[in-house]
């Protein structure tokens, strides 16, 4: 699955930046067309939900989605066999 921020809802409060235990959200730098500085995602494929949601059949961590006051965070299905790089940290 893929972690996405809905830019039409995000207000740039950066609460997600505060709570993600993997540090995936980073304060953004550029305003979008609505004048909101949406956070950037740093290697989102490290998110447990992206990797393991299907295996466990339920939402894991989910801190960012729960705290986002603007219901802007979700996980999307990916197209089958979409190539992506996974970095494993030791």
């Amino acid at each position: 699955m893929r972690l996405v921020i809905d830019e039409s809802r995000c207000k740039g409060c950066n609460l997600c930046v505060l709570v993600c235990p993997y540090g995936i959200f980073r304060e953004g730098r550029e305003q979008n067309q609505r004048g909101v500085i949406v956070p950037e995602l740093d290697r989102p494929e490290r998110c447990t939900n992206c990797r393991l949601q299907h295996l466990y059949g339920r939402l894991l961590c989910g801190m960012c989605q729960m705290i986002c006051p603007d219901q802007a965070i979700a996980w999307e299905e990916e197209r089958p066999y979409e190539p992506h790089r996974v970095e494993v940290e030791f």
Binding site: R9, G12, C13, L15, M63, M66, C68, P69, Q71
Partner: protein, 262 residues
């Protein structure tokens, strides 16, 4: 179904300011309601007036957005007329404890089977930042420009004293704990108050040197004192640090309740 299926996405983005805690409280409530297996048909959300009280407008169930302070009175009517409904009330510190104070203590006394979630941002958010019964001593608001001189209400302790069957307090930062506390409230027959200390960066933080959302969150996080720790300090005869508020479950009991489904 998932928590997202309860949201009125056609009304998003919501009207709340960037970083307002109210949206997080809605998320936690919907996750708890979803965990209960309730349906949109048998659940009603009721609120008074205020930013916090706008919450039912973002949920896909029947709801009542009532007059200021009267949410619990309307909710009592709904629950007693049809005990088959699950009743959840959203309210604010002004709505619940100032104009609605009398309804609050009597809903606790009657122990009507419902869950009230109070988003306590310690201010009248919607009307531009007037002081409320929970505005801390010394805090600046538009009606206390030199700092509030009044003692405050402890809403959770008030509910315990007035007879509610379940009372808990958390913050909008402690989302997992808050969700669990709301779920306990929904399960408990009788009146449940879940008080949520929330950040209002616009009308509270801006005037009280907590302008950034992260400053407000840090303030909530560092001023929350776990109830078990408070009890330990009392047992050991140690002082309770100034300016802290207690979080956790303050009471869960089985006083006779009204409106409980037979």
């Amino acid at each position: 179904m998932s928590a997202a299926d309860w949201q009125r996405i056609d009304r998003l983005p919501n009207i709340y300011c960037a970083g307002c805690g109210n949206g997080s409280v809605i998320n936690c409530t919907l996750a708890a309601v979803e965990e209960m297996g309730w349906t949109r048909e048998n659940t009603v959300f009721i609120s008074g007036i205020g930013c916090s009280s706008r919450a039912p407008g973002y949920i896909l169930t029947d709801s009542l957005h009532t007059t200021h302070g009267r949410a619990l009175a309307f909710a009592t009517g709904v629950k007693l007329a049809n005990p088959a409904l699950n009743v959840v009330v959203f309210t604010g510190d002004g709505d619940l404890a100032a104009i609605g104070g009398n309804h609050f203590i009597h809903a606790c006394r009657r122990n009507v089977d419902m869950t009230a979630i109070c988003m306590n941002n310690q201010i009248y958010g919607m009307t531009g930042g007037q002081g409320s019964p929970t505005t801390p001593r010394g805090a600046i608001s538009t009606t206390t420009p030199y700092g509030s001189a009044e003692p405050v209400f402890d809403l959770a302790e008030l509910a315990v004293a007035a007879g509610a069957n379940h009372v808990a307090r958390w913050t909008s930062y402690h989302v997992k704990e808050l969700m669990a506390a709301i779920a306990t409230g929904l399960q408990t027959p009788g009146f449940s108050l879940v008080e949520v200390m929330t950040q209002c960066p616009t009308n509270y933080g801006r005037r009280n040197r907590l302008r950034q959302v992260s400053d407000m969150i840090e303030h909530l996080r560092t001023h929350a004192l776990l109830v078990q720790k408070r009890d330990r300090l009392i047992r050991e005869g140690k002082p309770i640090p100034e300016g802290m508020f207690v979080v956790g479950e303050l009471v869960r009991r089985h006083r006779p309740a009204m409106g409980v489904r037979a």
